[in-house]
C-alpha cells in the first residue's frame, strides 16, 4: 500500500495530477475498497502530494502562486459542488465517469507531441514588476509568459473542482490542459502550479468525506506516507526527467485502469 502510494506520488508530482488517478484504482481493484472510501483516502494523498511537491516548486520559482490562487478560488467552488453531488451518484456511475475521464486524458496525452514541451522559465528572471495599473490578467503572468483567457480558465477550473470531488483526484487532469492550452502557461509551470492548487481543491472535499466517515485512517495513513515519499522524490527529480517518456508510460497505465473501471461499471 505504501509502495502504491509512492508510485502515485511520483507520477502526481511530475505531471501535476496529484496521484489520485492511480490511487483510486489501486484501492478499489487491488485492495477491494468501496469506491467512495477509495476517493476519500485518495483526496488525502492528493493533499500530501501537493504539499510535498508544491513547496519544492515554489522554492525553485516554477509554480505561479498568484495564478494558482486565482484559479483555485474557482476549483474550490467546483469541489464544493462535486463533494455534495458525489453522494447522490451510485458506485457504478462513478466508475463509469472515472473510466471516461481516464480514456479522455490518455487520448489527449497521445495527441500531444513534443512541440508543446515548453522550456522551464529562466529561474534568474524572477524580479517581475507589474505596470502601474495593469489589467488583472497581466498581474498573473510570470517570467517569459503572459496569461490569457482568464475567463475560460476560471470556467475550466470550476469543472476541475467538480471532477476532483467526484473522482478523488486533484483536478490537475483538467487544470493542466486549461492553463497550458487555453491560458498560454508553459507546461512545466502549469504542472507545478497545478500541484500547488490541488491541495486546496482536494481539502475542500476531503473535509466532507472525513465528516461523513468515508476516510479509513488505517488505509489513509500508509497511502499518505507513500504519496509523500513519492512526491518528494518526484518534485526534486522533475527537471531531470524526460516528460515524453513519462507520458507514454502514463498513457499505458491510464488505459489499463480505464478498462478495469469500465468492467467495474458494467458489473463485470
Amino acid at each position: 500500500m505504501i509502495a502504491g502510494g509512492a508510485a502515485a506520488g511520483v507520477f502526481g508530482s511530475l505531471l501535476g495530477l496529484g496521484g489520485g488517478i492511480l490511487i483510486v484504482p489501486l484501492l478499489t481493484l487491488v485492495f477491494g475498497l468501496d469506491l467512495r472510501q477509495a476517493v476519500g483516502v485518495s483526496l488525502v494523498a492528493v493533499i500530501v502530494t501537493s504539499g510535498a511537491s508544491a513547496g519544492v516548486y515554489l522554492q525553485r520559482h516554477v509554480a505561479n502562486l498568484r495564478l494558482g490562487m486565482t484559479l483555485e478560488l474557482f476549483t474550490a467552488v467546483g469541489a464544493l459542488i462535486g463533494g455534495l453531488v458525489a453522494f447522490l451518484l451510485s458506485d457504478r456511475v462513478l466508475a463509469g465517469l472515472f473510466a471516461a475521464l481516464l480514456m479522455y486524458v490518455a487520448a489527449t496525452m497521445l495527441r500531444r507531441g513534443t512541440a508543446d514541451e515548453a522550456a522551464p522559465p529562466d529561474e534568474s528572471d524572477s524580479a517581475y514588476e507589474p505596470a502601474a495599473d495593469p489589467p488583472f490578467s497581466a498581474s498573473l503572468g510570470g517570467p517569459g509568459y503572459v496569461v490569457r483567457n482568464v475567463g475560460f480558465g476560471a470556467a475550466g477550473s470550476v469543472g476541475a473542482g467538480v471532477v476532483s470531488a467526484l473522482l478523488g483526484i486533484g483536478g490537475g487532469l483538467v487544470k493542466v490542459p486549461v492553463m497550458h492550452v487555453i491560458m498560454g502557461v508553459p507546461l512545466r509551470v502549469a504542472t507545478a502550479t497545478s500541484n500547488l492548487m490541488i491541495g486546496v481543491t482536494a481539502s475542500a472535499s476531503a473535509v466532507i468525506y472525513l465528516l461523513r466517515g468515508e476516510i479509513d485512517p488505517y488505509v489513509a495513513g500508509p497511502i499518505a506516507i507513500g504519496a509523500f515519499v513519492g512526491a518528494s522524490a518526484g518534485s526534486r527529480a522533475a527537471h531531470r526527467i524526460d516528460l515524453r517518456f513519462l507520458r507514454i508510460l502514463f498513457v499505458v497505465v491510464l488505459l489499463y485502469t480505464a478498462v478495469q473501471m469500465v468492467r467495474r461499471s458494467v458489473g463485470g
Binding site: 498568484r66 463533494g83 455534495l84 476531503a206 473535509v207 485512517p217 506516507i225
Partner: protein
C-alpha cells in the same frame, strides 16, 4: 495602493513554501507514528474506526494508532487552508487587495464546505 515588488513576491513564495513543507512534514510524522503503532499492534490496513473528535485526546494519551492517524490527517487537510490564510496575510501586508480578496473568498468556500458537510452529516 502599495504594489508588491518582485523581491516581495519572491519572499511570499518562499514563506508559503516553508509553511507547506512544515505542515506536510508534521502530518506525515504523525501518520508515520500511527502506522508504526498499527504495525506494533498487528492491525491490518482496513477497517479503522470512524472519526470521533471527542476520543482524539484519549487515543493520543493511550498511544492508540487511530489518535495519531486522525491528528495527522487533520493536519494534512488543514495545511492547504493554512497556506491560503498565510497568503491572505502576505497580500494584505503587501497592499494587494485583489489577491487578498481572492484568498479570503477561497477560505470562505472552504468554510462553507465544512458547514454544509456538518449540516448534512448522517
Amino acid at each position: 495602493m502599495a504594489r508588491r515588488t518582485g523581491a516581495e513576491s519572491d519572499g511570499l513564495d518562499q514563506a508559503i513554501a516553508r509553511l507547506l513543507t512544515a505542515g506536510t512534514y508534521l502530518s506525515v510524522a504523525l501518520l508515520g507514528i500511527g502506522v508504526v503503532l498499527m504495525a506494533v499492534a498487528g492491525l491490518a490496513p482496513r477497517g479503522g474506526p470512524a472519526f470521533d473528535p471527542a476520543r482524539l485526546g484519549a487515543d493520543l494519551v493511550a498511544l492508540r494508532p487511530e489518535g495519531f492517524l486522525w491528528l495527522g490527517l487533520i493536519a494534512a487537510i488543514a495545511t492547504p487552508s493554512a497556506r491560503v490564510a498565510a497568503s491572505l496575510i502576505g497580500y494584505l501586508r503587501g497592499g494587494e487587495r485583489r489577491m487578498a480578496g481572492v484568498s479570503l473568498l477561497i477560505l470562505g468556500v472552504i468554510a462553507l464546505s465544512v458547514l454544509l458537510a456538518t449540516a448534512t452529516e448522517g
